[in-house]
Symmetry: C2
């Protein structure tokens, strides 16, 4: 059984042997009151830069906590370079999207405003908290960046060179997502999912005219926006990302002849 | 713009020109009070056998509704033969699993009881309702069959010949899911997802010893059970199911040279 600490926390401070990290009131409360951890208990820390480190609670009180950083347990690894752009949807579903985009290894989660977006305001702090919690639980070594909502046309006008944009296409010509993802393997990518009402026709025409946009098909059924997002991200990771090698602990895969 | 009716309903009655279909109180209420449909309004009906048919509300009242079946709009098609077996999880997440398994084209959704399953009772009626509603909205021509919860060992002991079982493997040797799905293309399949606490070691050993079980890897991050289910189903559909041909309206895909 792994001796790794069960509680993983994302922090922003540098992590190095002998460093000290202080937690804010909310997180201290979480450790002390919810998890009932005491002085001496071990937690794992990561900050997206320095890998994962074992740390020990040096002192903990009402609304504060001081951690001593002990030793590194995992080296920092790069994550596949995958963004999710999506038109905001209603609360329960958008929380799920943030959580699952984090589990599925997204580096950027970006709400984009389209003609038929029917949710005007996005609670970015809450989405960020969902994404961080999911990152802690899924054992990744970074957290997604939650970007301020932006109009789709402005996002596209400033699109970084070299990044493909997989457009989850409700209708019209599209490459099956598995085929597109396999072709894009190794290159930075983004997935774009429209609102439940779909993109406006001129938005679609504009998107299809852009050289970095790849319309992808997600089968013959009409998927909800959150389903499309999760499915497209999973397919990209499975074919072009870090699911392509081995299993959860990265030992070599079974040979198929032994299995079937 | 498509003249197809916007409201789709799953019914069990046979569908044929000139047939009459009566709706139960709950559905009549839904049409009359929620959707505010009146006599003469058109809806689409499907029953999993006869395709999709246009129907007209002949009469509607408090707690009842009579529909006249007019003409067939879509022929029945077979669905990819894909089952989801999963250990029950908490309510909000299990409802999402039923909904998305339906959108992702599952023909069977089957709660299985494992050693560490922490949800004792499953509200099958509610799950079935979620699955049916999702089937209506995603425009598929059938609804998943929701099976009574069963112990995993009994499910495995009665496993139908010819069907592969993709085991979402938290650890240990596993074939990357995309590779496994591509190899299984065209064959009946099932996805098995364990509880949040994972399978017991002897359950895993037993599973891995079975010739029809294929452990599949879903990357280096630890996915929640509902995330794993949706991701595995999506990957199977994308590589072995009905996502492999064209886009939403099944026109031929873009040639890649035109696109990138």
């Amino acid at each position: 059984m792994d001796a790794r600490a069960e509680t993983r926390l994302y922090v922003e401070e540098p992590l190095a042997e002998g460093a000290a990290v202080g937690l804010d009131a909310e997180r201290s409360h979480y450790l002390r009151t919810v998890l009932r951890l005491e002085r001496g208990a071990q937690v794992a820390l990561f900050n997206g830069r320095d890998g994962e480190w074992l740390a020990r609670i040096d002192a903990i009180g009402k609304g504060w906590c001081s951690l001593a950083v002990l030793r590194r347990t995992r080296a920092q690894e790069p994550h596949p370079d995958l963004w999710l752009l999506f038109a905001p949807i209603k609360r329960a579903r958008i929380d799920t999207v943030a959580e699952k985009a984090s589990e599925l290894g997204c580096s950027v989660i970006w709400p984009v405003l389209t003609r038929h977006t029917d949710v005007a305001r996005v609670n970015l702090d809450r989405l960020r908290a969902n994404a961080v919690e999911a990152a802690e639980q899924c054992e990744r070594l970074s957290v997604p960046e939650l970007r301020e909502p932006e109009r789709l046309d402005r996002v596209l006008a400033a699109w970084p060179a070299g990044r493909h944009l997989l457009l989850c296409a409700e209708a019209g010509n599209a490459t099956p997502v598995a085929e597109a993802a396999a072709r894009l393997r190794g290159a930075p990518a983004a997935v774009l999912v429209g609102p439940e009402g779909g993109f406006a026709q001129d938005e679609l025409d504009g998107l299809r005219a852009l050289p970095f946009v790849v319309p992808v098909g997600l089968g013959p059924r009409v998927l909800r926006a959150d389903t499309a997002a999760i499915a497209a991200l999973a397919c990209w990771q499975a074919l072009a990302g870090d699911w392509t090698t081995g299993g959860a602990d990265e030992r070599p895969p079974f040979r198929s002849s032994e299995q079937m």
